[in-house]
Symmetry: D3
Subunit: 274 residues, 6 copies
């Protein structure tokens, strides 16, 4: 199959997930444009590197020009103080959608998060039509962008697939990951599915692998065609051997958002870090 797209923009391309998409999306477009405020190394022949800050609208407007699709993985990657969340994630996402609107980009694939609904209990089997229940400023910024995406779909016809990524790391580390883990390969596959479908409309979908346990439901997202191909199960024995049985009533075990539910409010110091 030849590439489906002429040019895809990836934001957050220097990040943990973005850098993997840089490899993973290569077959889908003739050119990949990469955006981040961090160094992204040298551009390959099929790549265009645009360094800039999501908080800078001029930069974003430029980055979104002449692209067929945006894979928006930029923004604060975890709980941060309000000003950081505001600039990177709220203002940044607004700039992305305004860029898409002004540059007539038809579809955005957005890295939302399980933390948009983190306060549901594991046993709630939360689906993609449930109300928001953010567990952090981070989660709140994901809610904001999901609603922003909805507005731009209803009003301007820009399609969005909001990926509520659960736990996407190199390897699982705790028992909660037995349901929430998403392998890097499945993450890339999920983005590719969201890009390839002829009709996305406005869709929310959870991102976790084909694990035996599952605390969220994609029953309303079958049209995206995401069937995870990997599983956390090969890691089960190691995870159980290296962790203690948790308290089932602890906030971070009870809720799908995990430890962000248990985390206090970030203070405003510049060096506040989870």
């Amino acid at each position: 199959m030849t590439e489906q797209f002429e040019r895809i923009l990836i934001t957050g391309a220097a990040g943990a997930l973005g850098s993997r998409l840089r490899e993973g999306l290569r077959p889908m477009a003739r050119r990949l444009r990469l955006h981040d405020r961090e160094d992204m190394g040298a551009a390959a022949a099929h790549e265009e590197i645009v360094r800039g800050d999501l908080a800078d609208f001029a930069s974003v407007l430029e980055a979104t020009r002449d692209v067929d699709a945006i894979v928006h993985f930029g923004g604060a990657p975890m709980e941060r103080p309000w000003q950081t969340v505001l600039d990177s994630s709220i203002r940044g996402s607004y700039h992305i959608y305004e860029g898409a609107r002004q540059n007539k980009v038809p579809r955005v694939v957005y890295a939302s998060s399980i933390h948009a609904v983190g306060y549901y209990a594991v046993e709630d089997s939360v689906d993609t039509r449930a109300m928001h229940r953010p567990d952090s400023l981070y989660g709140l910024s994901k809610c904001f962008t999901e609603d922003l995406a909805r507005l731009y779909y209803d009003k301007f016809g820009i399609e969005s697939v909001c990926l509520r990524i659960c736990s996407c790391f190199e390897a699982p580390e705790g028992r909660r990951h037995m349901w929430s883990f998403l392998t890097y390969a499945d993450m890339i596959h999920l983005v590719r599915c969201a890009l390839r479908v002829p009709r996305a409309g406005y869709t929310i979908i959870y991102g976790n692998s084909d694990n035996e346990e599952n605390a969220v439901s994609n029953r309303y997202a079958g049209h995206i065609g995401f069937r995870p191909r990997e599983s956390v199960e090969p890691h089960r024995a190691r995870v159980f051997d290296t962790t203690d049985a948790p308290d089932a009533h602890a906030t971070d075990i009870r809720h799908v958002g995990g430890f962000l539910c248990a985390l206090g409010h970030p203070d405003d110091s510049d060096d506040w870090r989870v």
Copy 2:
């Protein structure tokens, strides 16, 4: 396993699907009775050929005598002018159910269609309890027969399984088929499942293969036991290579009914054809 049924009637037996059922249902009954107004060739030893028009009640009454089950695939196979739909599909289906009632046939498997709910959007994940949203006179006649079947179940105890067949052809041809395609083998399997279950009651079930993408939900039809065994995926590369990316907002891409949603109203000329 010996045959489960003594005699099954297949209507529309000369049609694209009916002729395949003629082969596919052979193991299920000692005798197959075949009904169509078109030529069906010669009868095999286990077959009974009854040529006639569904619009002729006397013929249908005769065809439905002494059968254990009816597999009703007859009627106009696609959008047609009103008078054709009325005669073949509305009056024809009424004749089938009246035949079943007068001849005490306990179960009907009916070839309904995705076009009974064609105006739902792909991202609606429409299930089998949703309200009708026909996309054509063809779809309207499917709605009518589903409701007719419901009446005959509630009032007279005749069981029905209404198969909302999506796209059942030799091979997929467009990107919408990536979710809607039903292989012939899976179609036959679906009919066999609908026949073999001890209890069908009144059930609606979608007919599409085990494709990665899926825009409809059989979550309320698990008791039928239909697990498709084939998939459209082997065709994906060819389909993508030979088709252009569609406009996600076009009526025929947005709605599960596809091009019938985009089609105008049929005029009344005898030679009107989609």
Copy 3:
């Protein structure tokens, strides 16, 4: 308030309900056009009388010309043999909607019936999004027309309000009427509400008065603005005094469709009457 409409067509204008609408809708339009195959007496100054059969498309096409709204109360008024239902109600309703389409009439108010969902139990609290469960050929024709109306809304933008009238008579006669009764005044008010709202879209609404008991739910139809103003309660003592306590398990008491659920299938004789 001056009349909201220039010309409203009322079908079935000689019938029990139609004749009351002839009076009741007078303030809403400068001219009322009345259609029926029965004699309607002399036309008042603001009236146009068109005698004809709904089964005759030419007559319906003529009747629907130059009207702002259609109040479609014509068709077989109760369970009848198939051929009668087919001609008066199925073909007749198709003609009405085709007339509306060809003559660009923007809205139809249709006399559907509780019998479109007659097999729900009284304790089901059936709402307007539930699947059809017709209890008779009469009910089946109501289901057909509701689906027809949905098609013409989704495809051609013609708005419809389908009134599922429960029991609209001069006075209540049995204990089932304690929930199902709709007074003539409330029936007229319901039609006026359906006509006056700026936006109807495609809406189904139950028609019963403000009775203490209620077995159906209009929770999804509040936008129509129908608040019944009368009640069956003044009749309670008389109804209870003149009727025996019914068997709670009898088919006609259990289901919202009442005696039509208990009625057998109509035979095909011309003089079959409930």
Copy 4:
């Protein structure tokens, strides 16, 4: 009844609704603290006037000290350019909730808006558990604050009642107001209900009067005890006499958000005004 509260803070106290609450809430607290960046005139004996900008956290932190409840009606009152919405409504609301958290204020009553769900159709009967569908940057900021309130409830136990006010003006002006109108007296009553209930938890409730027509549902908000006491009906004749029948398919008639659905994107000029 003596005052239930010691001190209530009203933000946006100089606004159209805030100034009416200044009168209306007088019986509920021993002292009212009023906050706005506009002039609020002289303070009465029971009043404390704090002039300041919601975008200034220090000012908000001060204003929220020593209050029992916050009635948050401040922020941009209608569609505005992004920077204005961001400062007044997004940053402003965050400051309010942070003020509440740091000052241990147990409950916030927030002036959300129908525009948080403006893209639902009138016939959808949208309830308070439906997903957000904002129709404007204004609506988007309401979605943000509702989610912010949810976070502060789930994480910090601060109760919120989010009032999705529909159309609260001096008098109704168009036919859409026949369902959406909220009289000033009912608006005040709604705020008082939200303050007086012993348990609010996190609740969303629509604010419209007891109008005959209604396009939204408070079926999940009965515990607030809001029963509107007035109605738009006395205005019906005048409204109908002075307005033309609208096009039922026009964006602003079809959707509950009205004209904000039809409005384009605000440009960034300082003097942009709806």
Copy 5:
């Protein structure tokens, strides 16, 4: 209206509610049979007094002979030790339904309780189809009897109306009663509605008066025809004046079950009393 019933049995007839039903149901039956293990005073001309223990099946079998309907208000009236709940409420209710079955009594009206679902939050708007969430052994025995009633309906056709009575006392005493209060007159009216309807099937209905606040929903029980005629509102000022503002997060304020949610487990001593 003459009496609808020949003979109604009231259990718990010496209790706070039962003694009021003794007066209130007088017009509904030619004879009232009263059952309790406590003294019930002298029988009026239309009364039959049967003293006995619900835990004694022989007594119950005798008491249920030749009655048209059973109004089952007996059993432990509040949280009690397990053995008491078991004998009075679990074994007692079983005896009642077995008596009904053996004596062919067609309908039972049962005093269930809000405590069958006490752990739902006030803001959940719990309806009558929600799963049980008992808050006490008392509530658990109500759940048991509701399920017992369901079994006897599904298997033996005995109709039941389970009244989830909220707070039925002489006068309201706390702010929770502002939604939960049921006046004695409304309680009697509720029982009469449950008796008079021609079809009850198996129905659960909440019992609270027409209070402005309401934390439960009877949206699926409209067919019973219960419209409360009184309200707690006349008591509001007194209740607010005589009580302190509660903590919204306290267990007994948060949950519909009130103080039973906050109560510990009863010990097994004979004199344990709430």
Copy 6:
């Protein structure tokens, strides 16, 4: 993986399922305590045998001391007279939960049954949030214990997983088993899943194998991680060959509870047996 638990109590350890759990759970705990009133043979080195009656609280209190989890499979294994059900299953389950509370056991895995909801029809696709519909005293005792478990979760934080086991035998015997069959290996796997998850909360889950047909839905129980590994399909040919086609309308075929729905009420003789 080393054993997850220090000591698990299995009740009903001499029964058909309990004896298999005795083997199957061996890898999960350092010690297994086995309880039954029947002989359990000799204890292995890792086993503790406690013979006693569930109806005897002292015995149960002792058995539940110092255990990490309880696997409660004791009680009457099928329909029995009331007194037996009361003692073994209702009183017995109460004793188990009281033992768990007094001995601070954090989790119970309970052998509930499909008979707690036996009166749903096969085509209802009943899920785990549906209301109870017991089909027998046996099923009623399962409902009771599920509600008891809910109370002890909501009030005391004891987690429960209620396994609604469908048909767990050596081999399937009738066509209903084509959906309901649970192999012994899958039963053991189900219990292990219920024990191993870090968070169970209060969860209900159906127990049937990965059969093609399925009449129940675990869509809300994915967090338990139960994916059956076996199927009834290898038995299909034999089952069909050795059984007649059933009547689809027969009570035991129509309802998920099977023959218990068709069974009459048990009489009170000691030797009554299904």
